[in-house]
């Protein structure tokens, strides 16, 4: 009788951060279980303790080189709550521009640099060619478009924040500098090119996605809840709004949820085999409260995007499956629609008559000892929650990151794909690439998402120079 075996995919490639996947095979070589393990640990919740709260936006931006702006925004909103101020209207709009620019560049990274090799060259392509060079060789225009769209977003961030990565322009109470007319005009001049790329790429994607029917049917194609932030009119927003939870039938499970009361309806569970916590919707319990966030979830729960072209695409998107769009393969299309929306929305915001106002910051000292900020990051809803003492020093912090909220769904997706495609007795690279590709569809950012300390299983060994174990401490 054959033995049970385990296949380990380590590292998972073309994602942000470090992870591995284990596939457990039964005696017949069929997949019986699968797990997505996040193997890195960041610990920002702990290391910020004792720091002045005014440092938090800049400190939290260091969590990630891909989406520092998301952490800046959520952190600054938490600090606004500590100041107990309402930021100037222009600062509000400038933060929205900043956030949207980052959504564009981050989504472009996911679509063009990380997933387009799978989409353009196929899931069974030679792994040595399944990268940016392979894309450049087969479709140089697509590769150029990816580079240009990333530049577009990064240059807006640089024009507003002074630098592309870890800008410190967003501060408690607003932003540190107003937008100059020169920079506003320079950004506006690049909108038509970005819009053309967004439209062109969506058309390309819709055409090539026809060849992935089997993947669409098995890449995280299961019922779950979906959560996203919406405007009062049900429109798409990345900066501010109430939270909505929708189900697989397209019905709203909860609406008008106050993001600052997230702890009433969201829970987090720690599993022994990963540094990434798993968030769940409390009323349904764990793990039945599995929900998805990010582009797919946002487009599932909104009534409209709020811009002309994106709304046309949204209407088409909502026809992809009956009721809610369930397959995580469709994250790609949702991501491209969001890019289109962001470019259109940028033009609206930049043409706002107030956008060049010099009043961009509200000054105050701490007026509250607890603050919560929430916004939509590229990968989903992001929460920053701080408690400070009378001296303004951070005493406690909790971060709920989008990737953690997708953890249950990512694990279930890996299992679904593995069961559908992997045959342990005749293993082919394309089978394992599909297991990785479903993770790429979620675009997880693992550097952002592993901050809890004191809860996860730990094993620490003290070794002598020869490698002999001198001491060991284990927390189950």
């Amino acid at each position: 009788m054959a033995e049970k075996r385990t296949i380990v995919i380590d590292p998972v490639t073309r994602i942000e951060g470090h992870a591995k996947i284990t596939l457990h095979l039964d005696e017949q070589g069929e997949v019986s279980d699968a797990r997505f393990h996040v193997t890195q640990f960041r610990g920002f919740e702990k290391l910020c303790e004792g720091r002045p709260f005014t440092e938090m936006p800049s400190l939290m931006a260091r969590i990630c080189g891909i989406c520092p702006v998301s952490h800046l925004i959520a952190s600054a909103k938490a600090c606004d709550a500590l100041l107990a101020v309402r930021i100037p209207p222009t600062a509000d709009k400038l933060r929205r521009i900043f956030n949207i620019a980052q959504i564009v560049q981050s989504h472009a990274l996911s679509v063009f640099h990380l997933s387009s090799p799978d989409l353009l060259l196929g899931m069974d392509a030679d792994p040595a060619k399944s990268n940016l060079w392979g894309v450049a060789e087969k479709d140089p225009q697509l590769a150029r478009d990816g580079i240009r769209l990333r530049q577009f977003g990064q240059q807006i961030i640089e024009r507003l924040g002074g630098k592309r990565i870890h800008p410190a322009w967003v501060v408690p109470g607003g932003v540190s500098e107003p937008l100059s007319q020169e920079n506003r005009d320079a950004i506006l001049a690049t909108i038509p090119e970005a819009l053309a790329i967004a439209v062109r790429t969506l058309a390309w994607y819709k055409k090539i996605s026809q060849a992935f029917r089997e993947e669409i049917g098995s890449f995280g194609n299961f019922p779950s809840l979906f959560m996203g932030m919406v405007k009062e009119d049900g429109g798409l927003t990345f900066y501010d709004g109430k939270l909505r939870m929708g189900d697989a039938s397209g019905n709203l499970v909860a609406d008008g949820l106050d993001a600052t009361r997230y702890f009433d309806y969201l829970g987090e569970k720690v599993e022994r085999w990963s540094y990434l916590k798993s968030a769940y919707y409390k009323p349904k319990g764990y793990p039945d409260g599995m929900y998805r966030v990010g582009p797919l979830a946002r487009l599932n729960v909104v009534d409209r995007c709020g811009t002309e072209r994106a709304d046309q695409e949204l209407a088409e998107f909502k026809e992809l499956q009956r009721a809610a769009v369930l397959s995580s393969f469709h994250y790609h299309q949702a991501r491209l629609i969001e890019i289109l929306y962001c470019v259109e929305r940028l033009e609206q915001l930049l043409n706002d008559p107030e956008i060049l106002s010099k009043h961009v910051r509200a000054e105050a000292k701490a007026n509250a000892l607890e603050g919560i900020g929430a916004s939509e990051a590229p990968r989903g809803t992001l929460f920053h929650h701080y408690k400070i003492d009378e001296q303004g020093l951070v005493r406690w912090a909790n971060l709920i990151i989008a990737t953690g909220q997708n953890n249950l769904a990512m694990n279930r997706s890996v299992l679904q794909v593995a069961k559908h495609f992997v045959r342990g007795n005749e293993l082919l690279p394309g089978m394992l690439n599909r297991v990785e590709a479903v993770i790429r569809a979620y675009d997880p950012c693992l550097s952002c998402s592993t901050h809890a300390i004191g809860e996860m299983a730990l094993r620490i060994q003290l070794l002598d120079p020869s490698g002999q174990v001198l001491n060991e401490a284990v927390r189950p």
Partner: protein
């Protein structure tokens, strides 16, 4: 577009690894005509576009090899890269991508300064601090004209 592009690379939070950023501060003060400067933590595919638009590109970086304070200049030629990772772009692979996508890979050099300390911190070691003026002087020379000692076809060490 300017004639010369300077790409400074390194992590300013890891002591001498951020020496190229320090050099960039001095270079900005010189306000050289026809020179654009980009400072990044690491090389990314997006650099292929500006790299393709200039006559010469200078990659500035800290080096682990050599004696601390040692300055090196090496010619870079495009090398087609492959593999699953996009986190480790080299100057040669950036040149290759520029050629692949935009049809042009300019003359390129890596100018490096060997570091002493790569620990956490924002300070530069005394050895590197002392070598920085010479490092900047060499970079300026390369933005103005190619030094006579430079052989277009082989690596060189100044």
């Amino acid at each position: 577009m300017p004639r010369v592009l300077i790409v400074a690379c390194g992590n300013p939070l890891r002591c001498d690894d951020g020496l190229a950023w320090r050099a960039v501060e001095d270079l900005h003060r010189l306000r050289q005509q026809d020179v654009e400067i980009i400072a990044q933590n690491q090389l990314t595919p997006e650099l292929a576009s500006p790299v393709s638009q200039v006559e010469r590109v200078l990659f500035l970086d800290a080096a682990r090899r050599g004696q601390p304070g040692e300055i090196r200049c090496e010619l870079v030629l495009p090398v087609h890269a492959s593999g699953a990772f996009t986190h480790n772009f080299s100057p040669a692979s950036i040149l290759s991508l520029a050629h692949e996508l935009y049809g042009k890979a300019p003359q390129a050099y890596v100018i490096s300064l060997s570091g002493e300390c790569f620990d956490h911190g924002e300070t530069i070691s005394a050895t590197v601090e002392a070598a920085l003026p010479g490092f900047v002087e060499l970079i300026v020379r390369f933005t103005e004209e190619l030094p006579r000692t430079c052989d277009r076809h082989s690596p060189l060490c100044l």
